[in-house]
Amino acid sequence: MIRKPKNIFVEGPITSDRIATAIQNHSTKTTIGAHSIFLGQIRADEKEGSVVKAIEYTAYEDMALEKAFEIREAIFEKYPLTCMHIYHSLGRVHVGEISLFVFTSSKHRKVAIAACEELVERLKKELPVWGKELLGSEEATWKENT
């Protein structure tokens, strides 16, 4: 069976509803003993005498989905995971809202936590996604991952 890249993009912020539903959906998978969840939240950084109000996300979507798929396969290969889910926002996400939701599930906690961390690091480094920080003064500046 050839597996196709799954969509990871969500328009606007990732709601607590979506996160709750994702957790709920795993209650029937009874081999799981541990979930690890990473949530990226928009921070009100001070920039150029102003404060970040929101981030506007854009992506080179086709490449990002191929890349996410490649990373996903590599992490599944490396760790004995039961499940892995990735959601990333596109468009505008305001301060305090969630723009990245990464969810790994395994029999035991150490695997789930290690896989989640590696997945987040790789996504931030390798996905062609860009966040434009929108400032209070109507100006904008492009952010850069470190």
Binding site: Y57, V129, W130, G131, K143, N145
Partner: protein, 68 residues
């Protein structure tokens, strides 16, 4: 950020036989690129070394990523 500096977001560019020559030709046509940090993707794959081009590839100039 890059797209904001170029006249068009998407365009056709004359054939160059490899990725190094493509970068040089792009730099000549759009001098603003010289001051910008970006990487090159050919058919959705990042290109680190000089690769041969056929002429129908999808080329993308990618500024530093900032997702998450």
């Amino acid at each position: 950020m890059l797209a904001e500096k170029l006249p068009q977001q998407e365009f056709e560019f004359p054939y160059q036989k490899n990725s190094q020559e493509l970068l040089e030709a792009l730099g000549k046509k759009f001098p603003v690129l010289k001051d910008m940090k970006f990487s090159l993707a050919v058919d959705k794959q990042l290109v680190q070394e000089n690769i041969r081009l056929k002429g129908n590839e999808e080329i993308a100039l990618l500024p530093p990523f900032s997702g998450g």
